[in-house]
Symmetry: C2
Subunit: 214 residues, 2 copies
DNA sequence: GCGGACATTGTCCGTTCGGACAATATGCCC
DNA sequence: GGGCATATTGTCCGAACGGACAATGTCCGC
């Protein structure tokens, strides 16, 4: 019996996954978490072998959760389950220690196969994804610097979410109780991490990473 | 037997919905569409009574699809099913003719209740959502102008997607073979349609609407 | 033909933004 | 104690942006 935990912020996705997984007679869904923070809590209590992990969640995003899980529960296999077929997000997830990667438009068979492989300590990757993992900084992508430098801090996330709402630096500063200069500092840090040089592009990247809750 | 069609770009969401719906013995899932365009095609063939409609999809977004459905198949009840508890998106969907609104983190009961209500020609709204619908331009939101004015033109979409890549007006102008002033005109038109006043906010709205392919 | 939607371009001006120089303080881990 | 990450703030400047006045031409449907 493979003990599987589901981490996704959408109830319908969780229910759908649970029902799909229950069609396999060797899989047991032991719990569900709605974000990265709850995932870490439940992982300690429920002792899952495999965690299906969404990457776009509130409170704590999937990448951050994976990094924590790798550190605290290295024996748990993590299968990334996300909407986006986005190169750097996928590669970052795998670099962070995930053992599989599945798009939400994957078939039921693919999903079950990936879980079975993960439970055996193997990783199931589609050939084209494997190729991308093997070719780190292939063509256009700005080649993610290091792991820590590619995750936003809480403060940076606050600033970026405010910017995505169209707020000016002055407005953001007032709401956060800091100066405009500090807002600019956070933004420049964000730009560096995302490899962009404008708030519009930063917002697009954030949306892509699911950091805006949309 | 209520004939229900599902429109969502994620297979797992579709499967999850199908399995949930099949737990009700008076509901029949007659088909699934992956985007607004396919939804229109299948609606003509499958004759559904209720359509569960995601709002964030490629090719044709949910709002546009609803507008077409209202025109071509006014007898079909549409229940919006989306990730976002976003005021103007919700209101626009309902104004466009949807008969219900459900967040993806709704419970199974809520989902089934909404479908039953929609099939009877009724609309099931949570009280707080009803209040917002009844108070059009209540607090901050700029109260969407008209239907046609809320859809971007091809040119505007090109400009906005370029902006989301971090391109400056000058850069966008060069690539599109127009002047910088024209780019600004398109942007201002976009701002008006989206009810924002900055490219960062416009990009966020675009991402939310699924216009950026992410 | 005439209105409407769409695409295009012009100027001026005040505000905002991003980059280039920075520095300081705090808290945590080794 | 010595790093390291994080958060904070300062000034200056050129470029970019958004809004306020606009106007012109095309194409399509009624």
């Amino acid at each position: 019996m493979i003990r599987v935990m589901i981490t996704d912020d959408h109830l319908i996705v969780r229910e759908g996954l649970r029902l799909i997984l229950e069609t396999a007679d060797d899989i047991e869904v032991v719990g569900e978490a709605v974000d990265g923070a709850e995932c870490l809590e439940l992982a300690a209590k429920l002792n899952p072998q495999v965690i299906l992990m969404d990457l776009q969640m509130p409170r704590m995003d999937g990448i951050t959760a994976i990094e924590h899980l790798r550190k605290d529960f290295p024996e748990i296999a993590i299968v990334i389950l996300t909407t986006y077929n986005e190169d750097d997000l996928m590669i970052r997830g795998l670099q962070s220690g995930a053992r599989g990667y599945l798009l939400k438009d994957s078939s039921r068979e693919n999903l079950l196969d990936a879980i079975h492989a993960a439970a055996k300590g193997e990783t199931l990757l589609k050939p084209e994804i494997l190729a991308r993992v093997l070719a780190p900084q292939a063509q256009g992508k700005p080649a993610a610097t290091t792991q820590t430098e590619s995750t936003l801090t809480e403060r940076e996330l606050e600033v970026l979410q405010s910017a995505a709402r169209g707020e000016r630096n002055k407005e953001i500063a007032y709401k956060l109780g800091i100066t405009e200069r500090t807002v600019k500092a956070h933004l420049q840090s964000i730009y560096q991490k995302f490899g962009v040089d404008s708030r519009a592009a930063a917002v697009a990247v954030a949306a892509q990473k699911g950091l805006l809750g949309i």
